[in-house]
């Protein structure tokens, strides 16, 4: 504190002085301080870990605020060459933060702050090799012993991938497995939507990269609220943190850390979900991949994973085997066994021409040699009867027995 007194007079140091004198050393303040630290620009998990290894939370805040966040000898090697640059960035960001306001904001929003090593911190993440220093939690605390499956995949997914993720999420939740995902567009959101649809299903867990009040993507506001209401949503960043590019891979490691099994439904060759796969492999979490058409770019990453000996996931059973649950399933959903009328004879030719992967009308015309009017009529009938489905001018067969696997 002597350093603080020496530089007293700037607004920033006064703020810290108030914060520290108001509740010196109280656990609540530590949590708020670490949360505030983790919300600073360029404060990645490794940097935060190094900082808190060198200082106590309150000290760390004071040092960061004074622009000396990088001066401790043990930090120099963790921060690398641009340490002084980082220290300036942090000091600038920290000067704009009012710790009391942070504390009030979290308590008003009903967001719980949990510090690593303190009671209430999720056990699985406490035991993680790269644990978060602080977690912001909202929603119901999941029961500790529930098996967890992460369903991840590309944001730019196909309708088939979306339905697969939806079906897996729904069926897993129905048999008592907590679905973990990132509430992103595409596969992630579909898995959560599926898990929420199961009646009396196990509540899903969402790990997001922004503050819990910053809905990203914005279109998922309703899903976001539903997960918070019926399940658990968590973030490493305090309220108000905007989406930043580096926070998403960091978030993915938490998804891997929370899961007993990771299932990748669809991924491009360079997809963000491959970060989750890497993190899962580091933690010896089994990785399953859903095979896809070889000509679908959205399945190129998952097919490559399978070639690298990921476990194929062709349905719920494969996941249960990976969880070691195959005998112990409590509530097994019954296959719906919906029967459909066979396509009429003339339409059968068109049905044959529509593949399992998206097929354009042009391809159907080329394969059947029918006139556009005749083919369109047949496609319309097949679509109305549920044999095929349309997606932006592309047709593909629907799996028999309803959507999902």
């Amino acid at each position: 504190m002597t350093g603080l007194v020496g530089t007293a007079g700037t607004a920033g140091t006064l703020q810290v002085a108030t914060a520290t004198t108001a509740a010196p050393g109280s656990p609540a303040t530590d949590e708020v301080v670490v949360a505030a630290l983790s919300g600073l620009a360029a404060m990645g998990p490794a940097r935060l870990c190094a900082l808190l290894g060198a200082y106590s939370p309150t000290q760390a805040w004071a040092e960061v605020l004074a622009g000396r966040g990088a001066s401790h000898p043990s930090l120099v090697c963790a921060l690398g060459r641009n340490a002084s640059e980082l220290a300036r960035t942090w000091a600038r960001a920290a000067a704009a933060v009012d710790l009391e306001e942070v504390a009030q904001r979290h308590s008003a929003a009903g967001v719980r702050l949990r510090l690593l090593g303190r009671p209430g911190f999720p056990q699985r993440l406490a035991a993680d090799p790269d644990p978060p220093q602080v977690l912001c939690l909202a929603g119901t605390d999941a029961a500790g012993s529930v098996p967890t499956v992460a369903i991840v995949g590309t944001r730019a997914c196909t309708a088939d991938g979306r339905e697969t993720a939806f079906g897996l999420g729904r069926d897993l939740a129905a048999i008592g497995v907590a679905v973990v995902s990132g509430l992103a567009r595409g596969i992630d959101g579909a898995a959560h939507a599926g898990a929420l649809q199961a009646d009396g299903g196990t509540p899903p867990i969402a790990v997001v990269a922004t503050g819990l009040d910053v809905v990203y993507p914005r279109g998922h506001a309703r899903l976001w609220a539903a997960v918070r209401e019926r399940g658990l949503i968590m973030s490493e960043a305090p309220l108000g943190t905007r989406p930043e590019r580096w926070r998403f891979p960091a978030r993915n490691r938490l998804i891997a850390g929370l899961a007993d099994v990771v299932v990748v439904v669809e991924s491009h060759v360079t997809g963000g979900s491959l970060h989750t796969v890497d993190a899962a492999l580091e933690r010896a979490v089994p990785v399953l991949a859903v095979p896809g058409p070889v000509r679908s770019p959205a399945s190129a990453g998952t097919n490559a994973l399978l070639a690298e000996r990921a476990i194929p996931c062709c349905g719920l059973d494969d996941i249960l085997v990976a969880l070691g649950l195959e005998g112990a399933v409590l509530r097994r959903p019954r296959p719906s066994g919906r029967r459909r009328p066979a396509p009429a004879e003339a339409d059968g030719v068109v049905y044959e021409a529509v593949g399992w992967s998206p097929t354009s009308t042009e391809t159907v015309l080329a394969r059947t040699g029918l006139s556009p009017v005749t083919a369109a009529a047949a496609l319309g009938r097949l679509c109305a009867d549920g044999w095929i489905r349309a997606e932006g001018g592309w047709w593909s067969r629907t799996p028999e027995g309803g959507p999902g696997l």
Binding site: T154, R155, A156, C157, T158, A159, D160, G161, R162, R185, G186, G189, A190, A193, P217, G219, E266, H268, S296, P297, A298, S299, P358, S360, T361, E362, T363, L365, A366, S371, P372, V373, T374, A376, A377, L379, G380, R381, A384, A390, E391, G392, G393, W394
Partner: protein, 503 residues
């Protein structure tokens, strides 16, 4: 001494009769033009003076006043040079008083007395009531299209003066206008595969439905669009004259003149400004691309690269068939009835068509989807996804139908529409749909299902029914519309990029 000579000026594409009155009176030598001349027109003083002196005529050292009546409307361009010169010669008694009676003049003067051509001769000639018309030789074929006048084609002021003095005959009549040999439009048989897109072209030509192609680069969107001209029925004489008038007014006549008998095809680059597209300009109102494409095709390649503000200017012409340009001084209505054909890539990487095939980030795809405003997108009755052709189609494959065969069906379908009393099905008023295009029971069920599941909007309903009517016309189908016609119409109206489906 006074003299009056009839002439005309142009406003948009319409000719406006003008009487050029010259008074040569007593006073300090001077020359004044009144009656709202624009700056080019005001400069006539210097051109006329030089041309007179170069032609061994006298510039009167008197007070000369030129009035362009009616004096309330603005006069544009240099076409009044020749009538001013002739009126001045009559007023200064260098020509006999009755020499120019019943003769109208149009032409720009060079300093050496040559007479130069000017745009819009078709409209100018149409506005002139005098029985005889003196025009620059290069424009004679345009002036003759109106067919009411005795047209004298002249090249110099001296030639005109000696003819008016009776010293020399008028130059021989210009050779009759020869329509330029129509360039053979590219033929549809050169397109391999693309069955759906070919059918869409046929429907677009038959019903004048606006058409949007989306697809990856190299799929042949531009190639297809350029072949639509060859499918359109030939212009009627009235349409041909309208097309020629507009091109003449814009100064875009083909080199050899004559009537433009084939539908125009305009394809402005995507850097076109709003004024270039819809017409306008500060001094003179020049017809834009939408007017030049009247009775033909406006092709906007890479439509998503056009600025959105420019594209939204198309909404009035698409809806009403005219574009009204209002400026402080002028208020002009230009025809703009065209068939809009557009092509675009679905997103920046170009492969966003197939589900899961796009490598763009979602924000990029959302941006690409916003490039076309909803109201504009809604004007496209036909929205077709064009894929890369199959390899087997490219190398050999079935021989494809030539344009002539398709054009025959198109003509027959247009005839069926004309028999119903509508020009084209795309212009069929919604309230007439139930009378002229009733639905069969399966078709009604299909529409109900589509509307209920949300795969068809209420806005799209009327457009789908119009397209279905054209499909039935092409098939020679009588009676209520069947479900196959509606299915084909719905099939050709896909939402570009399945972005709405992204969850």
């Amino acid at each position: 001494m006074n003299a009056t000579v009839p002439s005309a000026t142009i406003l948009g594409v319409e000719g406006l009769p003008v009487r050029v009155e010259v008074h040569v009176g007593v006073g300090l030598p001077g020359f004044m033009i009144v009656g709202q001349p624009d700056s080019t027109c005001r400069e006539a003083r210097d051109r006329v003076r030089a041309a007179l002196q170069s032609s061994d005529l006298v510039w009167p050292p008197r007070r000369v006043t030129v009035n362009l009546a009616p004096s309330g409307t603005p006069k544009m361009g240099a076409g009044l040079d020749l009538p001013i010169a002739i009126a001045l010669l009559v007023a200064s008694e260098q020509l006999p008083p009755a020499a120019a009676d019943g003769i109208a003049f149009v032409g720009e003067l060079g300093l050496d007395g040559t007479i130069r051509s000017l745009p819009g001769l078709v409209s100018l000639a149409d506005a002139i009531t005098a029985p005889t018309l003196v025009v620059p030789a290069p424009c004679a074929s345009e002036a003759q299209l109106v067919g009411r006048h005795r047209v004298h084609a002249v090249t110099t002021l001296a030639e005109v003066v000696s003819a008016l003095r009776g010293l020399a005959p008028w130059p021989g009549p210009p050779p009759p206008a020869v329509a330029p040999a129509p360039q053979p439009a590219p033929d549809l048989c050169e397109v391999r595969g693309q069955h759906l897109a070919r059918f869409a072209l046929e429907v677009a030509a038959a019903g004048a439905h606006h058409l949007l192609f989306t697809g990856p680069p190299g799929a042949g969107k531009t190639m297809l669009a350029r072949r639509l001209v060859g499918l359109l029925p030939p212009l009627t004489p009235a349409q041909a004259l309208e097309v020629t008038r507009i091109h003449s007014a814009a100064g875009m006549m083909p080199a050899r003149g004559g009537i433009m008998a084939s539908p125009p095809f305009r394809s402005p680059h995507h850097s076109a400004s709003a004024v270039a597209l819809v017409g306008g300009g500060s001094a003179t109102v020049r017809p834009g691309e939408v007017s030049m494409a009247t009775n033909g095709i406006l092709f906007l390649d890479e439509i998503s690269e056009f600025p959105t503000t420019v594209l939204d200017h198309l909404r009035q012409p698409l809806e009403e068939g005219v574009i009204r340009i209002c400026r402080a001084q002028t208020n002009v209505e230009l025809p703009a009835r065209f068939l809009l054909v557009a092509a675009m890539n679905p997103c920046r990487c170009g492969y966003g068509g197939a589900p899961g095939g796009c490598t763009c980030p979602p924000s990029e795809r959302a941006r690409a989807a916003r490039r076309l405003s909803g109201p504009l997108l809604d004007r496209f009755d036909l929205r077709i996804q064009v894929g890369r052709p199959e390899v087997t189609d490219l190398l050999g494959g079935r021989p494809c139908e030539p344009s002539a065969a398709v054009a025959t069906r198109v003509l027959a379908a247009r005839q069926r529409a004309a028999d119903r009393g509508v020009t084209t099905n795309a212009r069929l008023p919604s309230e007439m749909l139930d009378v002229l295009a009733p639905l069969s029971a399966p078709a009604r069920r299909l529409l109900e299902h589509r509307l209920r599941t949300g795969s068809l909007s209420a806005r799209g309903l009327h457009r789908v029914r119009r397209v279905a009517l054209t499909v039935a016309d092409l098939a020679g189908h009588d009676g209520p519309l069947g479900d196959e016609h509606l299915c084909a119409a719905i099939e050709m109206r896909i939402e570009p990029m399945g972005l709405a489906a992204a969850s």
